[in-house]
């Protein structure tokens, strides 16, 4: 078991190292001078700026310095927002994204799994139909369309009506901080993920339900509830948590669409800002941050596999 953990951990570190290295070199290979602006800079000014950001050193020295900084948690300084540390900017933005993500997932995961399970167990029934409808909608309606529609009809039209008749606005248009502000963004983010979770849960459950050992369980005289609870669910979990890990990680880094539309100052909005302003330090820093979250999420998923499926522990011990 320890070997399994150690191996997984080793792979995680290796992945992160490759990620950081590739990000760094991509940054440097990008065409275009990061400081080029609409008005050309004189050479002396350029030289001064380069020196300030350490860009006058040979590439491998910059790489080593960068690596060293990253290992200490320093993702560099923004090129556009002079003086701001990327790490600080991400730390300031992250709680918003995390809050948004956690609330949406608290809605999406239990609901999604519930609908998925019921749809799989009662194929062709009302649950199955619900699952199909949500999946179809979730896949075909892009989140920005849903967001714009809901923001307008609920945040503007409906809320003006409630303001006029009941004295308060039912839905705020944007922003973050109050429970009211959280409803629309969390719902929309949750909805997109809901479809995915339902689909995965349903298909995983269906696959397990068709397995021979479920027939054995039935042959024991167990009630359907017991069969689902004791035999089907646990064995269905593996594919579900496989997607849940990266899904949670990607939610945590914020959906930039929702953050842009609802003006939530999270990591997604931050990442996009970096791309739009060609602020390479911000883009690289965000990439690494995202990478760490995903690698971390996958590592946790690997650990959970160990808990859910005892065979993983065993196989490792058997290996020479």
């Amino acid at each position: 078991m320890l070997k399994y953990i150690a191996k997984r951990f080793g792979y995680s570190i290796l992945t992160l190292w490759v990620l950081i290295t590739v990000t760094f070199f991509l940054m440097h290979l990008l065409p275009g001078d990061p400081f080029v602006g609409d008005k050309p800079l004189s050479d002396s000014v350029k030289a001064a700026i380069y020196a300030r950001y350490g860009l006058d050193q040979p590439v491998y020295i910059q790489y080593l310095r960068y690596m060293q900084n990253v290992l200490h948690g320093d993702l560099g300084s923004s090129l556009i927002y002079s003086g701001q540390s990327v790490t600080n900017m991400i730390s300031a933005a992250f709680p918003y994204s995390a809050d948004l993500a956690l609330r949406s997932l608290t809605f999406a995961i239990p609901t999604g799994m519930l609908i998925g399970i019921m749809a799989a167990l009662h194929r062709g029934g009302p649950w199955d139909t619900t699952a199909l409808v949500i999946t179809a909608l979730g896949v075909s309606i892009p989140s920005f369309v849903l967001a714009s529609i809901l923001q307008y009809y609920l945040g503007v039209v409906f809320s003006s009506w409630t303001l006029a008749n009941w004295g308060f606005r039912a839905f705020p248009i944007s922003g973050w901080g109050t429970p009211q502000q959280a409803i629309l963004p969390c719902f929309i983010l949750g909805f997109s993920n809901l479809a995915e979770i339902i689909r995965m849960t349903r298909s995983s459950l269906l696959e397990v339900s068709g397995q021979d050992y479920i027939r054995t369980a039935k042959a024991k005289g167990l009630s359907e509830r017991k069969i689902v609870w004791r035999h089907i669910l646990r064995n269905s979990l593996c594919p579900i948590i496989t997607i849940l890990g990266p899904l949670i990680a990607s939610c945590l880094t914020g959906s930039f669409i929702i953050e842009s539309i609802f003006n939530i100052p999270g990591v997604g909005k931050f990442m996009i800002m970096g791309v739009e302003t060609s602020d390479y330090m911000v883009t690289a820093g965000s990439t690494i941050f995202y990478g760490v979250l995903i690698v971390g999420a996958n590592f946790i998923v690997d650990m959970l596999y160990m808990v859910i499926d005892p065979n993983i522990r065993l196989y490792d011990d058997k290996e020479a």
Binding site: A48, S82, T178, I183
Partner: protein
């Protein structure tokens, strides 16, 4: 069946939770200012102004700022020697008055009693320090070139001289003396601009001692002498400004609080405006403008001063021929481009300098120049093309490569020109799109044939438009060289006769247009909707959206 009941009740409780969240009311949102239908009691209207910046300002350091967003933060929090009134006339600010020598080369400013937000007096050393720092070659400030009319500035900034060569001195705390090398009539105008704002030396050095580049990165790292000061700065979220009690003209400021938001999405921005959460909304698309018109809002069209034009590489094949260039210029239907593609209130440009720019003797320069050619002049274009082909010795119209940025606006414009030039002149175009920085670099290296560009003025004088076409200008991107043009411009730079100066520049622009090294497209205008609860707000070229003396009336 009993099984289903338990599942249903779970779902039911989820729905109840959701409804609970829905029903919970109250609590103020983090963004957006006061709700419409505000809490003001009888007579007392809350003086809170809500404005959307759209994006996080990169910096509040007046020495480093070059972009719009930073200026949104710096303009209300600092003031310079002079400021602009509603008609862009220069009036005193920190400087009570000033003397100008007869040769127009020496300025002596007399500072009034004014304070920084920490109570310290504003002194002339604050200006001396700020300007010297900006010109410091090791500091690398981007706007240093604008100071080059000051004696010793260019040499110091390029590392050829020492700071003592600078023609700026502070004989006493309340006097600032500046020596120029050129008798430019717009020097006091320049003093109204952010890069000329003062910075207290001690405060700056204290900040830098704590950490490099930390000056102006947070509210406690900025000292303001302007009408407002930064109260809170939630990065990427919201900036709150509060009236600065130490501002010398504080009695004329009505607003108590200004909320600067960072809503990136245009639709959200407009929705917030209609809900009363913002007092101004930029109408960035034809759609929004239509909606605003329908809703009956107060819509303002303001010139931005920017001229959008097509940049031509003059040593590249057929572009060396003036008639060819003119053919390209005449063929374009600018009005159609504006009405159908851009859907804004921009104006077709048939010369280079934007309207609203005044000459040093107070005339509308654009009117003096007049239209240098006709818009959508198909006949003229074809004729010029014929002549050009003969002169170039070509039997077929050549092809051109157009370099654009990879955004929708550039793509549509390029497609429009491609179509026009093919139809009218038979010129085929290849379009290549690059990300912004890559494209800019290619342009700086001269690695293009046809590209799009825009120029915004730095000060209120035609010189800022025309200077860049001088053959010795560092801003000259086209490689344009015309001895007559240079001569006219040199004279304009050095003469003290304002009428002659104006005339020189009118002739220069006409010469420029007859050579057509660039193709003017349109003068960019901005459209915005203004809440009827606001009075005293205006938007003007060089000042941007100015709410400093605004007041909420409801």
């Amino acid at each position: 069946m009993s099984r289903n009941v338990t599942r249903k009740s779970f779902l039911g409780s989820m729905a109840a939770l959701g409804a609970l969240g829905l029903a919970a009311c109250g609590g103020t949102s983090t963004s957006g200012g006061s709700d419409s239908g505000g809490s003001g009691g009888a007579g007392a209207v809350e003086q809170v102004f809500n404005f959307n910046l759209g994006s996080e300002p990169p910096t509040a350091n007046s020495l480093q700022a070059t972009d719009l967003f930073s200026y949104y933060l710096i303009r209300p929090t600092f003031c310079g020697l002079t400021r602009l009134d509603e008609d862009n006339n220069v009036e005193p600010d920190i400087a009570e008055g000033w003397d100008v020598s007869d040769d127009l080369l020496t300025y002596t400013f007399y500072l009034r009693d004014a304070k920084w937000s920490n109570g310290d007096p504003v002194t002339s050393n604050d200006y001396l320090f700020a300007w010297s720092k900006l010109l410091d070659p090791e500091y690398g400030a981007p706007y240093s070139y604008i100071f080059y009319d000051i004696e010793g500035a260019a040499e110091y900034n390029m590392g050829e001289a020492d700071v003592s060569a600078l023609g700026i001195s502070a004989p006493d705390d309340k006097t600032l003396e500046v020596k120029l090398v050129n008798p430019i009539p717009y020097f006091t105008f320049l003093c109204t601009q952010p890069m000329f704002f003062p910075i207290q030396q001690k405060f700056f050095e204290d900040c830098e001692a704590q950490g490099e580049n930390t000056y102006a990165s947070d509210p406690d790292k900025i000292l303001s002498n302007g009408p407002f000061m930064i109260d809170t700065w939630e990065h990427n979220s919201k900036i709150v400004l509060k009236k600065n009690p130490n501002y010398w003209d504080v009695d004329n400021i009505k607003l108590e609080t200004v909320n600067l938001l960072e809503v990136a999405d245009n639709n959200t921005n407009y929705n917030m405006f209609t809900a009363g959460e913002l007092d101004i909304a930029s109408l960035t698309s034809g759609d929004l403008e239509d909606r605003a018109k329908e809703a009956g809002y107060d819509i303002r069209h303001t010139s931005t001063g920017a001229t959008y034009y097509i940049l031509l590489k003059l040593d590249s094949g057929p572009l060396a021929n003036a008639n060819f260039r003119k053919a390209l210029a005449y063929a374009i239907d600018r009005q159609s481009l504006i009405t159908n593609v851009l859907r804004s209130s921009s104006q077709p440009a048939l010369s280079f300098t934007s309207p609203d720019i005044l000459t040093s003797d107070g005339q509308e320069f654009h009117d003096l120049v007049g239209d240098c050619f006709k818009d959508a002049d198909v006949e003229g274009a074809k004729a010029a093309m014929e002549t050009a082909l003969k002169e170039l010795g070509l039997s077929e119209p050549p092809t051109l490569d157009i370099l654009i940025a990879d955004d929708d606006e550039d793509r549509t414009k390029a497609a429009a020109f491609q179509e026009t030039w093919k139809q009218t002149l038979g010129v085929e175009c290849n379009i290549s799109a690059l990300p912004r920085k890559a494209r800019l670099e290619k342009m700086h290296n001269g690695d293009y044939q046809v590209a799009f560009s825009a120029w915004g003025p730095d000060y209120d004088d035609p010189m800022t438009y025309l200077e860049m076409f001088m053959s010795n200008s560092s801003m000259n991107e086209t490689g344009y060289e015309n001895a007559e043009f240079d001569e006219l411009m040199e004279d304009a730079k050095t003469t003290t006769d304002q009428a002659k100066r104006t005339d020189d520049m009118v002739q220069a622009e006409k010469t420029l247009m007859s050579d057509m090294p660039i193709i003017p497209l349109y003068f960019a205008y901005n459209d915005m909707a203004v809440s009827n609860k606001v009075e005293g707000f205006y938007s003007k070229i060089f000042q941007g959206e100015n709410y400093i003396h605004a007041e909420k009336i409801a």
